[in-house]
């Protein structure tokens, strides 16, 4: 045994222990817990001391000390260098010094190599585990996306920025009725549909150009089988990490059913159920839209179409046939005009209208009207019957800037009315001058109620005298309108429009009342010498349910004897044997009022009917008499009058000739047996005062005395 004897303290050994302790407590040692560091210092110093002194020399003790340092993470090479230096400063008694130092260094190095390999392995394992975890998460994430993509109810498709379809989900395949492969051969840019919203492709270009991130719209697509599907489309741009646009993703929701429903509702709201043509609402919408924002030079055309005599067809053949006819007419109009780009609409009943947008001139409007007439010319075969239908067409063709939708429609109606009145089955072009007349007549009729209120109407009376002795047996009440702007207007200037508008009813009632009161005053004053009152009764009045009550009331109020009232009805009012108005006329006669036929000979009358009518007389139209003296001697004309007189007398009717202007006319008529005459020869229409004077003069004052003469009542 060598080394210091037991129990003795070797000063070199003590120095070594102190230095060793300082070495380990420094640096890394500050991190180590004192509870660990203390035993480590003691244990390693002890191992080295034993290696230093024990016999035989045991290298493993030094190796163990080195390894313990590494175990406590004294891994800094500086620690090894300093430890080797310390060992050198404490030489052993024999030559084991280099071996001891070497064993210590070897132990430290071997432990460090083990530790390093262990830690590297652990680190790689940790990285590996982490990466696998990441991959699992990525896979799970992808799986979730894939599941969402595949099972989504909406169609999803990805495409590159060139528009090449890359992948689509099953919902999209189903929507398009196509396989992935078929869809992948498509390019987005080719999936155009005529009903695409106008801005969609602009939005699309912005998107793939990176100028917009997303857009949404409703878009139709063609399925693989050619059917159309409507989709609510959302397209989004996908950018990469740098923000560079890379892909586009489209999400499509199938809204075909909603779209069809909407279309259907829209169709129902804008189409006529019977004919399938555009309806009134749709037509006016289009017309208003046309006028809303016109090009400066733009023109338009309207053809207002009305079937001639449709009412007769409806009445005689029934509504079902009428409807079939309308439907067939609509078909012909549509198939001949829609291809020209014109809109055909049914406004109601048998009224149709054709709208020409961007009209190039009158010729185009006329051509459209001619097309209408040509289309309707061949007979219609309805329920095995051939029906010939004619139509009248009013054509308006104007610059948009010259009119308004409302005025254009009135112009079209008035022009149609002219076409009808000028003979049916023709077209008429709008004429602003004639239209102005028509418009003024219209405006005039609209003023009648106000004029009645303001007392603008008044009556004149024209005498009816016996041809025998020239005695005035009756007067005819003639209405006049003192128009504030137009002056005094005769009945020919407003009665026709009043009849059209229905205003003849209140106006006629006023005339009857006024005339009856006047007649009653004359009767009260002159008794039997007072003239009978003749009042014109318009067709519409005759058919008015209130007529009897009105006349009864007026007779009561005026206290006029019914025999002093005669109503003149025009020949055109001559009613068929089953006309309900006939009953009213019979009641009037029953009340004691007499009837006469006015303007006899101007219209077409079934003379046989005269027998069944409760009339007391007829008035030969003035035209017959005036024709006689303009043409000089006209034996045929006179023979006709003679025939009428003889016929009337055989029926027990009195005959009055109108338009008698000369004594010669009067003589001739008298010789032919005519009973009464009316005309300038016997007196022009006059104010009541003039008539009163004439009654007084005729009586020669013998009955009433001079005090009553000339008194105007």
């Amino acid at each position: 045994m060598s080394g210091p004897p037991a129990g003795r303290v070797d000063p070199a050994a003590v120095r070594f222990r102190d230095s060793w302790s300082r070495l380990l407590r420094d640096g890394h040692g500050t991190v180590v817990s004192p509870a660990i560091l203390g035993p480590l210092v003691y244990r390693t110093a002890e191992l080295l001391a034993r290696a230093h002194g024990e016999d035989p020399f045991d290298a493993s003790l030094a190796e163990q000390a080195g390894a313990l340092l590494v175990d406590a993470q004294f891994t800094d090479p500086v620690v090894l260098a300093r430890a080797v230096a310390l060992l050198q400063q404490w030489p052993p008694a024999d030559d084991r010094g280099p071996a001891l130092t070497g064993a210590f260094a070897a132990g430290w190095s071997a432990a460090l190599r083990d530790r390093t390999l262990r830690e590297q392995e652990a680190t790689r394992l940790a990285v590996d585990l982490a990466r696998r975890g990441a991959e699992r998460a990525l896979y799970a994430s992808e799986a979730r996306f894939r599941a969402m993509f595949e099972r989504a109810a909406v169609g999803i498709g990805f495409a590159d920025l060139e528009g090449n379809v890359l992948t689509v989900n099953s919902a999209l395949q189903e929507m398009f009725g196509a396989t992935v492969e078929e869809l992948r051969h498509l390019n987005i840019a080719t999936m155009v549909h005529p009903q695409d919203a106008p801005r969609i492709w602009e939005m699309y270009r912005d998107l793939i150009g990176g100028k917009r991130e997303q857009f949404q719209c409703d878009k139709p697509y063609y399925r693989q089988d050619g059917e159309v599907i409507w989709t609510h489309l959302t397209v989004s741009l996908i950018r990469d990490e740098d923000g560079t646009p890379r892909y586009q993703v489209a999400m499509l929701e199938d809204i075909t059913d909603q779209h069809r429903l909407q279309e259907r509702l829209r169709y129902q709201a804008t189409h006529d159920p019977l004919t399938g043509l555009w309806n009134r609402t749709a037509f006016f919408e289009r017309l208003e839209a046309l006028f809303a924002d016109p090009e400066p030079e733009a023109r338009f055309g309207l053809c207002s179409v009305d079937l001639d005599g449709f009412k007769n067809i409806n009445d005689s053949l029934g509504h079902a046939t009428g409807d079939q006819l309308l439907s067939s007419v609509a078909d012909r109009l549509h198939s001949s005009l829609a291809p020209l780009g014109h809109m055909v609409a049914r406004l109601g009943g048998d009224e149709f209208i054709v709208l020409l947008e961007n009209c190039r001139g009158q010729q185009e409007g006329i051509a459209a009207a001619q097309t209408v007439l040509a289309a309707l010319a061949p007979p219609f075969l309805i329920d095995g019957q051939q029906l010939a239908v004619r139509a009248s067409v009013g054509v308006v063709e104007q610059p948009l800037s010259a009119t308004t939708p409302g005025a254009a429609m009135r112009s079209a109606d008035l022009t149609l009315y002219r076409a009808k009145s000028e003979g049916r089955g023709r077209w008429t072009l709008f004429d602003s001058r004639r239209n102005a007349v028509a418009v003024s007549q219209y405006a005039m009729s609209m003023r009648i109620p106000m004029a009645l209120d303001r007392g603008e109407f008044f009556l004149e009376y024209q005498p009816l005298c016996t041809l025998d002795d020239g005695a005035m047996v009756a007067v005819e009440a003639l209405v006049r309108w003192r128009h504030p702007e137009l002056g005094v207007l005769g009945p020919e200037e407003f009665i026709a429009t009043a009849e059209d508008s229905g205003l003849i009813i209140p106006l006629g009632r006023w005339v009857l009342g006024k005339a009856c009161h006047q007649a009653a005053r004359w009767s009260a004053r002159f008794g039997a010498a007072a003239p009978r009152m003749n009042v014109n009764l318009a067709v519409r009045q005759a058919r008015n349910a209130e007529l009897i009550a009105d006349i009864d009331r007026i007779l009561q109020e005026s206290a006029l004897e019914p025999g002093k009232l005669q109503l003149e009805i025009t020949e055109s009012a001559m009613l068929g044997p089953r006309d309900p108005a006939l009953q009213a006329l019979r009641e009037l006669v029953g009340m004691g009022v007499s009837l006469t036929v006015d303007d006899f000979g101007t219209g077409w009358s079934n003379l046989a009917y005269l027998r069944t009518l409760p009339v007391a007389g007829l008035k030969i139209a003035g035209a017959f008499v005036s024709d006689l003296h303009s043409a000089g001697e006209d034996p045929l004309g006179w023979r006709i009058i003679g025939g009428m007189v003889s016929l009337a007398h055989q029926l027990g009717l009195t005959v009055t000739a109108e338009g008698v202007e000369t004594a010669a006319d009067a003589d001739r008529l008298r010789s032919m047996g005519c009973d009464c005459a009316q005309g300038w020869h016997y007196g022009r229409p006059a104010r009541p005062g003039d008539i009163t004077r004439r009654i007084v003069e005729a009586a020669g004052g013998t009955r009433r005395g001079p005090d009553g003469a000339g008194r105007d009542t």
Binding site: T30, P34, Q73, Q120, T123, A130, A134
Partner: protein, 268 residues
């Protein structure tokens, strides 16, 4: 703010990883070439760095043992990194043999590493979470269980908040944590500061800009402010070696060169 994390990041070996770089400084081998390169450059620039890291690690040890000595048995180590030499549970159990520790790190590799280490330890748990999403972190079952009311907890935020930028609001993170800590719980915090070596700290910051998490050094005032709502225990916020040293001489003549401030506060 919570967003499902579909794909963990940070499993690549091409980017230096702060946890592995830290391991380099401490003499470990749990690192790759990129990590060692960064560590080497940082040390060339700033030769005291290993010293600073050791000082931080020593503060960890001293504070954990101080708190364990104070009776705390639950530890939440946030930003625990790679469980290199002397992990918290070993330190604490020298004093509290039944100490429970939950390690939390954002880095999936560090988490796997920690799992390998504590796989058989029923009193330890490892959680991967982002400290910046503090609410989600607190909802993690292991964390929530550790923070259940009744027992004091030591929350460790060592050398981690300087990886949180100002925009990510470290004060808010501490505030949310404090709300979740039972009364009497402790916060141990260390943080890089510009105070001692401003010129170096700046360059160092730039170097770390290329690593997995950039550095934000903060002033002493701002670090002290992080303890709002806590009662600082002696000696308050001080340079790392100055916090309750083992021996007065171990502080050294220039503790400010360590450029790390540390402190422990108690939630009342």
């Amino acid at each position: 703010m919570s967003r499902e994390q579909w794909v963990p990041e940070g499993t690549d070996q091409e980017t230096p990883n702060v946890a592995r770089v830290y391991d380099c400084y401490l003499g470990g081998s749990h690192n790759f070439a990129v990590d060692r390169d960064l560590a080497r450059k940082a040390v060339e620039l700033w030769p005291d760095l290993p010293l600073i890291m050791r000082a931080n690690r020593a503060f960890l040890r001293r504070s954990v043992q101080y708190l364990a000595g104070d009776g705390i048995t639950r530890f939440l180590d946030l930003g625990s990194g790679i469980p290199t030499f002397g992990p918290v549970h070993e330190m604490a159990r020298l004093i509290q043999p039944t100490a429970r520790v939950v390690y939390v790190d954002i880095d999936p590799v560090a988490v796997q590493h920690s799992l390998l280490l504590v796989a058989d330890d029923p009193l330890c748990a490892v959680v991967q979470a982002d400290l910046r999403d503090t609410e989600t972190l607190l909802k993690q079952p292991a964390v929530a269980e550790l923070l259940e009311p009744g027992e004091r907890v030591a929350v460790l935020l060592l050398a981690v908040l300087h990886f949180v930028t100002d925009e990510e609001d470290p004060a808010r993170i501490v505030r949310v944590l404090r709300e979740a800590m039972p009364p009497g719980s402790a916060l141990a915090l260390s943080h890089g500061t510009l105070g001692g070596r401003p010129e170096l700290a700046r360059q160092h910051q730039e170097l770390y800009a290329q690593a997995s998490a950039p550095l934000t050094m903060r002033s002493r005032d701002r670090i002290v402010a992080l303890f709002e709502g806590f009662e600082l225990i002696d000696p308050g916020v001080v340079y790392l070696p100055q916090w309750r040293p083992q021996h007065p001489e171990s502080v050294g003549p220039h503790p400010e060169l360590v450029t790390g401030l540390a402190g422990v506060g108690i939630r009342p």
